[in-house]
Structures are given as structure tokens and as C-alpha cells.
């Protein structure tokens, strides 16, 4: 097991390095000067030159990359070009907001998905099964930003029941678990939950249906086991697949959704990245992409390890 873990860690290092090169290089491919983000469109060339010098963008790219990477491994992602605030602090604050939202969406999507998928799988071919399958396909297929806009139109613009934007009445700085803040979270959480709900319901339904059709379940029934005990076997066998899907879905949620967070002006990582793109704030964009990419790399790693623990057959080689 330890060898397997070490081997997986060894894979992670070159991937992380590759990610860092790609996200550093990508943002340098955009047209125009980097300081365009902060100088007015009609700034004279000497101003652009002075700013390029002030911010150190006049150095050769490999030198800039080396300096950036050296600082990044020490946890310093530089400062936002536009706001001047440390990128790491910006990301950590935004991540906190995304985490709260992801948790709410996961609780909602996972619990409903598990429940609906489980029942549909157990009652294959029934009306309930068809209903759940229909809902799951809808949940997966609906563009979630569209769903968000529709929810806003109904519940914010028309009914005036829930707020349309923001994380709380006074911003996210004083976030607390009270109704004033929770009501800001309802619409984005429901919107974000739609996709994981659909995916998990569909996965659980498929896995449960498949397991129930297997011969050992027949055998268990033949041996006279009660449905409750059979369900325990089903759950145990379905867990690795469902867990893997849930892990990835939670990862996607934690990564923040650019579209949903933008629709709701939710100050999370997706919104931050959108802002960085709109403002061409390259240090912020590089930092955000790097952190999110590394986060996904680690998440995949964690899910791999977890799956292996649950199902030793996966331990390859």
C-alpha cells in the first residue's frame, strides 16, 4: 500500500510542475502588455514602460517564471496587479466562501441524489424509476447558469422572497450562520446542487440496479437473507463507485463555478477568477488557476487512495 501511495505521489510532482508551467505560460500568451490591466487604454507609451518596470514585467520570461515558482512554493503567490492585495490572501478568502456554498450544495445534492438514485435502482422499471431518471437527465443537461437566472427571475425579481446577489447583507467578511446570510445562499446552492444531484442519482441507480441483478444477490435471497441485510451488501458494493463520483463532484463544487458565482455575485473562487479574467489581473489569474489545478490534482490523488482502501482490487501492480 505504501509503495502504491509513494508511486502516486511521484506522479503528482511532475503533473504539478507541468500545471505551473502551463498556467504561467498561458496567461502570457494573451495579446497586449501585462500592465494593460492597470493603465488607461490611452496611456502614453512612457507610462506603460514605467509601469512594466515598476512591476518587474520587463525581465525575461524564464526569470519571471523562476521567481514566481520559487515564491509560490513558499506560499507567496505575489500581489494582485489591480488591487495590490496578496493573491494568496485573496484566494483563501474566496475559497472560504466557495467552501461554504459547496458544502450546502453538496449536502443538498448528495443526500437527494443518494436517496432518489437508491430508490430508483431498487424499484427498477417503476414509475418512480422513470421519474428519477428523467429528473437526473434534466439536472445534468440544464445549463446551471440558466437555471440560476430562472430561479433569480422567479424568487428574487418576481416574488422578492430571496436576494439575487451577494453573500450577505454586509458582504462576506462577517459571515455567520444566521437567516440573513443563509437566505443569500439558498438560490446559488440549489443551482449548484442540480448537476451533482443528477449525476449521483444516475450513478447510484445504475450501480444499485447492476448489483441487484448479480447472481450473488440471488444467492443471498435464496439463503433467506432479509431485504435489510441484502441492502447492506448492495451499499457496500456500490460504495467505491459512488464515493469516487461524490468525491469528484465535491471537488468540482469546491473548485467554484465561474458561471454560477458570477450570476449570483457570490464572492468565491469562480467569481474571483472571472474578475481576474475581466480585469486581466495576471498574477491573480495565475495564482487562482494554479491553486485550483493543484487542488484537483490532490483531490484525484485522495480519491484514488480512498478507492484503493475500500476496494483492494483497484491496487494496480
Amino acid at each position: 500500500m505504501l509503495r502504491y501511495v509513494l508511486r502516486r505521489v511521484a506522479y503528482v510532482v511532475p503533473i504539478a510542475l507541468g500545471v505551473s508551467i502551463v498556467c504561467f505560460a498561458l496567461v502570457h500568451l494573451v495579446p497586449g502588455e501585462i500592465v494593460d490591466a492597470i493603465v488607461p487604454a490611452d496611456a502614453p507609451p512612457e507610462v506603460v514602460e514605467q509601469m512594466t518596470k515598476d512591476y518587474g514585467f520587463d525581465q525575461p520570461l524564464p526569470v519571471q517564471y523562476g521567481l514566481w515558482l520559487w515564491r509560490a512554493v513558499q506560499g507567496d503567490l505575489g500581489e494582485s496587479l489591480v488591487s495590490g492585495r496578496p493573491v494568496a490572501a485573496e484566494i483563501s478568502k474566496a475559497f472560504g466562501n466557495t467552501f461554504v456554498l459547496a458544502l450546502a450544495a453538496a449536502l443538498l445534492g448528495f443526500s437527494l441524489g443518494l436517496l432518489m438514485g437508491g430508490i430508483a435502482g431498487y424499484l427498477q422499471g417503476s414509475l418512480w424509476d422513470r421519474l428519477v431518471t428523467g429528473l437526473a437527465v434534466t439536472g445534468v443537461s440544464l445549463p446551471h447558469y440558466w437555471l440560476g437566472i430562472v430561479l433569480v427571475i422567479i424568487f428574487s425579481a418576481q416574488l422578492n422572497w430571496l436576494p439575487a446577489v451577494g453573500a450577505g447583507p454586509a458582504g462576506s467578511d462577517q459571515w455567520q450562520l444566521d437567516w440573513a446570510h443563509l437566505r443569500h445562499m439558498i438560490l446559488p446552492a440549489v443551482t449548484l446542487a442540480a448537476i451533482p444531484l443528477g449525476i449521483i442519482a444516475r450513478t447510484v441507480r445504475a450501480v444499485v440496479a447492476e448489483i441487484l441483478n448479480q447472481e450473488y444477490v440471488e444467492t443471498l435471497r435464496a439463503k433467506g437473507l432479509g431485504e435489510g441485510r441484502i441492502l447492506v451488501h448492495v451499499i457496500k458494493n456500490a460504495a467505491p463507485t459512488v464515493l469516487a463520483v461524490m468525491g469528484l463532484q465535491f471537488g468540482y463544487l469546491l473548485g467554484g463555478s465561474i458561471l454560477v458565482e458570477t450570476v449570483f455575485s457570490w464572492p468565491g473562487t469562480g467569481f474571483l477568477m472571472n474578475t481576474a479574467i475581466l480585469q486581466r489581473d495576471l498574477p491573480l489569474l495565475q495564482g487562482t488557476i494554479l491553486v485550483l489545478a493543484l487542488f484537483f490534482v490532490s483531490l484525484n490523488f485522495a480519491v484514488d487512495i480512498l478507492q484503493t482502501l475500500l476496494d483492494p482490487r483497484i491496487r494496480r501492480g
Partner: protein
């Protein structure tokens, strides 16, 4: 606890929760909440970023310049009026030397008085990289606005001398860009601009009270503001960055904000139907095609330029945009003191357009072929794709075939700065970048001054004409404001008579306000005054 006591406890708790979620109306404070188009709170240290919107909400609210725009009239074009300087004049003996009389008694929010030394400290903040207070972020915004300042000196606490590198009659317009931060507050905070950002001090009618980066800024009334007629009528202004247009509309309709900038045109009818106020006014914004004048450009022929201007059915474009534009008849709106009395009437006359083209040898078998570099979106660009497709169709009808080259907005800006001769412009004949045209330099000079070709400026089309340069020089050396306006109007007449651009539209600058927002006067300006606004609950 009885059932009744339990219910009362619950109701009490609920009331506290609901109370916490309500705006501070319960405290008797009047609050104006604004949804901005910016993606972030503009720089709070003084020289605001985020374009004109940044200066509108964070620049000229908390801070002031020596000279400011008069924003009190919706009917008349804005003019420059005294602010921290009570008066200014050029030395009659030496037209590169200006004297500014500083207003006595104007105080920063920290209580210290503004003097000529403070004006100098603020020039150094953006112009002198060796000064301790030099701030690259503010320099990026302000430095390019005052290109002809050579030196400055305080002759006494209330007299400031500024010397320019050339005779520069446009200096007052340049000075209006530069706002003043408090040296005392900066020193108190250990000379740290990041600390200053959360705890700033200017001399403006508003003071920053709450600053949550990327989420909100709250301004409160400055009760000690020097101009009693402009002490804010609302207690608090909340600024929220809402870059997504539909989110702004939703926030307004759900009552989370009272005012949104730039509602999307297709939302305007439903907002009006729901009782919201849609406020518009013409302002110095110019949506046009800038022509390339390099060899081989079809726009070198005045007949083709005039034909394009006559081919465009601006009234139909007005309908297409739901009325959120003014038909352009020149570079500046007709209400501008610089419009003058051009002879060429910019109108819809396709027959005359065809005649002009025929005169130059073009016809149905030999159409003019031009292309235009455009963007799919961008600040001030209104709705570039449908508008340009409309132009393409209109021009096509008289025999000018247009190929549209769509590029990303920042790429278009890079192309614009690179000039028509640069490979980046891909041999483009026209570029569609909307222009700020609030002063003679930005409205006219920068586009056609022969010295301002790449890399010196934004004469994209490489227009070169000695007599035009002479007119620009004359305007820059005419120090009397009325006489200067007359010279600038003469220049503008030439812009129109020679059809030097394809004049299309001026934006209507729409904003949507809740019914309870009263007394707002939308000036013909990129900046607006929030001080007279009243909230009637």
C-alpha cells in the same frame, strides 16, 4: 416556559434575525445602494482605477481635484469650475507658467487643511518615482493625464505655480483628472498605501466608512465639506460591484440595490413597466469608425468617406438600440460648445451617397471594399456586433462592401495603440473603438495630431496634415476659454466637413433607479454628482 412564552421568544428571535437582514433604514439613516458595472471596488487611495466609473464613484466622491466638472445641469454641456483651486490663470508674460489660487479652509477628512504643498505632494505621488509617496497604482491612472507638466512650486500656502513643457491651454482639463489624497493620513499610517486604501482621507463630500475588497464600499456624508451647497443629502452610499448585467437588473428588481449602472437595453422596457426610472442623457461619448489613412486605404477618398456617412440610417439604428443612443452628426454631440456649424450635413441620403461613389468611379460592378476591426464587447462599446452588422448592411446598400474582423476587446485596444501601419492591424481600413470625448484633446486632437502616431499616441489611422496640426497648435495656445472653444469648434467643423470619421452614435448613458431615488440630475458628463440625491422611503 409556556407555549405563549415560547412563541414570543421565537418571534423575538425571528425579529432579530430579520432585523439584521434589513438595510439600516430602521436606524433612520438614508441609504443609496448602487450596483456598478465594475468587477471590483475601484482603487480607494485617490487616483481611482476602473475607468470613468471608478472616478465617478470613488474618485470624485471621496477626493477632489484643483478644478472640477460642473455636474449640476442636465441641459447644458458640463464646464470646468473651481474646486480646491479658487481660480487659475496663465501668466500674461509667460504662457508656460500658470498660477493657481488654492481655496482656503478646505479640509481633508482627517481634519488637516489642504494647501499648495499638498497639491505638490500629490503631483509627486504620481509623477516622481523617487518620491517616498510615489504609488505605481495611482501613477498608472494619473501620470498620462498631465503630460505637459514640467514643474511645480508653492509660492505660499495658497499659491501654486505650475510650469508646462509647451504652451498648453488644455492644462485645466488635464488638472481636473488629478485628485488629492491626504499626506497627513498617509504619514500617520506609516507611509503605507495599502493601509491608506482601507482608511483613506480626501477632501470630497463623501468619506469612506466600510471597505470590503471586491464586495462593497460604503461612503458616508462629510458634514464638514467646504461647499455647503454640495453637502450630501443622503447619509450613506453603498457601492457594489456587479459586473454581470442581468445580475444588476435582478439586484435592482429584488430591492437589493436602488440604482444600477448600464441596464441592458432589452431589460429597459420591463424595468420601466415595473415602475423603475430609466435615466438617460447625451454625454461626451463617441461611437465611430476611425479610418485608416495609410496608402491604399479606400477612406483616403473624401467621396467614399462622405458616402459612408450618408449611407448610414441612424434613425433605424436608434430603433434597433431601443432609443438608448443619440444619432451622431460629428465627433461631439450637437449640444457641445465645440460642435460649431459644419457645412456637411451628416444625414441619411443613400442616393447622394451613390452619386458621390459614382463620381469617384465606383458603381454596382465596382464596389468599394473595406474592412473594419471590431470587438464583440467592451467598455463603452455599446452593442458592437449588431451595430456593426447594421452598418455593414447600410453601407452595402449603396455599394460599400464591408468585411467585419471581430477581435477580443483588449486585442482591439492593442491594435488601436499599434496603429494602422502595424502588422497587428492586419491591414485594417477602419477600427471601431468608442471614444471618451470630454475635453478637446481626447475628443479631437489625439486622433489626428500627426505627432501622435505609434508609439507616441493614438492617431491610429496615420492621418498627417500640416494645416490640421496648425489648428491643434492654435487651440493649445488660445488661453481664453471662449476663444479656445471657438477654435476647437473650427477644428470640429473640419472633422465633419471632410468626413474624417464614420460618425455613428453617442451613448445615452442609461441607468435605472428605484422610484424612491429622487433629485438625481444626470449631467452631460462621464461623472455624476451623488450629493443632491434624496431617498424617499
Amino acid at each position: 416556559m409556556t407555549f405563549g412564552q415560547r412563541s414570543r421568544a421565537w418571534i423575538g428571535a425571528l425579529a432579530m434575525v430579520v432585523g439584521a437582514s434589513l438595510p439600516s433604514a430602521a436606524t433612520g439613516e438614508t441609504v443609496l445602494r448602487i450596483g456598478m458595472t465594475a468587477a471590483d471596488i475601484p482603487l480607494t487611495t485617490g487616483q481611482a482605477d476602473q475607468g470613468s466609473e471608478g472616478l465617478r464613484f470613488m474618485g470624485y466622491t471621496v477626493y477632489e481635484s484643483l478644478i472640477q466638472w460642473d455636474l449640476s445641469s442636465a441641459e447644458n454641456a458640463s464646464i470646468l469650475i473651481p474646486a480646491l483651486a479658487e481660480s487659475w490663470e496663465v501668466d500674461p508674460e509667460d504662457n508656460q507658467r500658470w498660477i493657481f489660487k488654492i481655496r482656503e479652509g478646505a479640509k481633508f477628512h482627517d481634519g488637516s487643511e489642504f494647501t499648495a504643498e499638498d497639491a505638490i505632494w500629490n503631483f509627486e505621488k504620481i509623477l516622481n518615482p523617487d518620491s517616498p509617496q510615489y504609488d505605481p497604482k495611482q501613477a498608472a491612472q494619473g501620470r498620462g493625464r498631465v503630460p505637459t507638466i514640467e514643474s511645480y512650486a508653492a509660492l505660499d500656502p495658497y499659491t501654486l505655480e505650475i510650469r508646462t513643457t509647451i504652451p498648453e491651454a488644455f492644462l485645466p482639463y488635464q488638472i481636473a483628472w488629478i485628485v488629492n489624497s491626504s499626506p497627513r493620513r498617509w504619514e500617520e499610517l506609516g507611509g503605507d498605501w495599502d493601509a491608506f486604501a482601507s482608511n483613506p482621507s480626501g477632501t470630497g463630500p463623501w468619506m469612506l466608512d466600510v471597505f470590503v475588497p471586491r464586495e462593497r464600499a460604503e461612503l458616508v456624508r462629510n458634514p464638514d465639506y467646504w461647499d455647503e451647497s454640495r453637502v450630501p443629502q443622503t447619509d450613506r452610499v453603498v457601492l457594489l460591484p456587479l459586473p454581470e448585467a442581468n445580475s444588476r437588473v435582478a439586484a435592482l428588481r429584488s430591492g437589493q440595490v436602488d440604482w444600477i449602472e448600464a441596464p441592458p437595453p432589452d431589460a429597459v422596457p420591463s424595468l420601466e413597466a415595473a415602475g423603475f426610472q430609466i435615466v438617460t442623457n447625451v454625454y461626451p461619448h463617441n461611437w465611430q469608425w476611425h479610418f485608416s489613412r495609410v496608402d491604399g486605404s479606400p477612406w483616403n477618398d473624401v467621396n467614399v468617406r462622405k458616402a459612408a456617412n450618408l449611407a448610414l440610417d441612424r434613425d433605424s439604428l436608434y430603433v434597433l438600440l431601443g432609443g438608448l443612443m443619440q444619432q451622431a452628426e460629428g465627433m461631439v454631440p450637437t449640444s457641445s460648445p465645440w460642435f460649431g456649424e459644419p457645412e456637411f450635413d451628416v444625414r441619411y441620403d443613400p442616393e447622394e451617397a451613390k452619386r458621390l461613389l459614382a463620381e469617384s468611379g465606383y458603381g454596382p460592378d465596382n464596389p468599394v471594399q473595406v474592412n473594419a476591426l471590431i470587438s464583440a464587447s467592451g467598455s463603452g462599446q455599446m452593442q458592437p456586433v449588431p451595430m456593426n452588422e447594421f452598418i455593414q448592411q447600410s453601407l452595402g446598400e449603396v455599394g460599400i462592401e464591408v468585411e467585419l474582423i471581430v477581435v477580443e476587446w483588449n486585442t482591439l485596444l492593442s491594435i488601436w495603440r499599434a496603429g494602422a501601419k502595424d502588422a497587428a492591424s492586419q491591414g485594417g481600413h477602419s477600427v471601431n473603438v468608442s471614444y471618451f470625448s470630454q475635453d478637446p484633446f481626447t475628443a479631437l486632437v489625439r486622433h489626428l495630431d500627426s505627432t501622435l502616431v505609434n508609439p507616441n499616441g493614438t492617431n491610429w489611422g496615420w492621418y498627417q496634415d500640416d494645416s490640421m496640426d496648425a489648428m491643434f497648435t492654435k487651440a493649445r495656445q488660445t488661453f481664453d476659454a471662449d476663444e479656445q472653444n471657438a477654435v476647437v469648434a473650427e477644428i470640429h467643423e473640419r472633422f465633419v466637413d471632410e468626413a474624417l470619421f464614420l460618425f455613428v452614435a453617442h451613448d445615452a448613458n442609461p441607468r435605472a433607479l428605484a422610484p424612491k431615488v429622487k433629485n438625481f440630475v444626470q449631467a452631460q458628463n462621464w461623472y455624476q454628482d451623488l450629493t443632491p440625491v434624496v431617498i424617499e422611503e
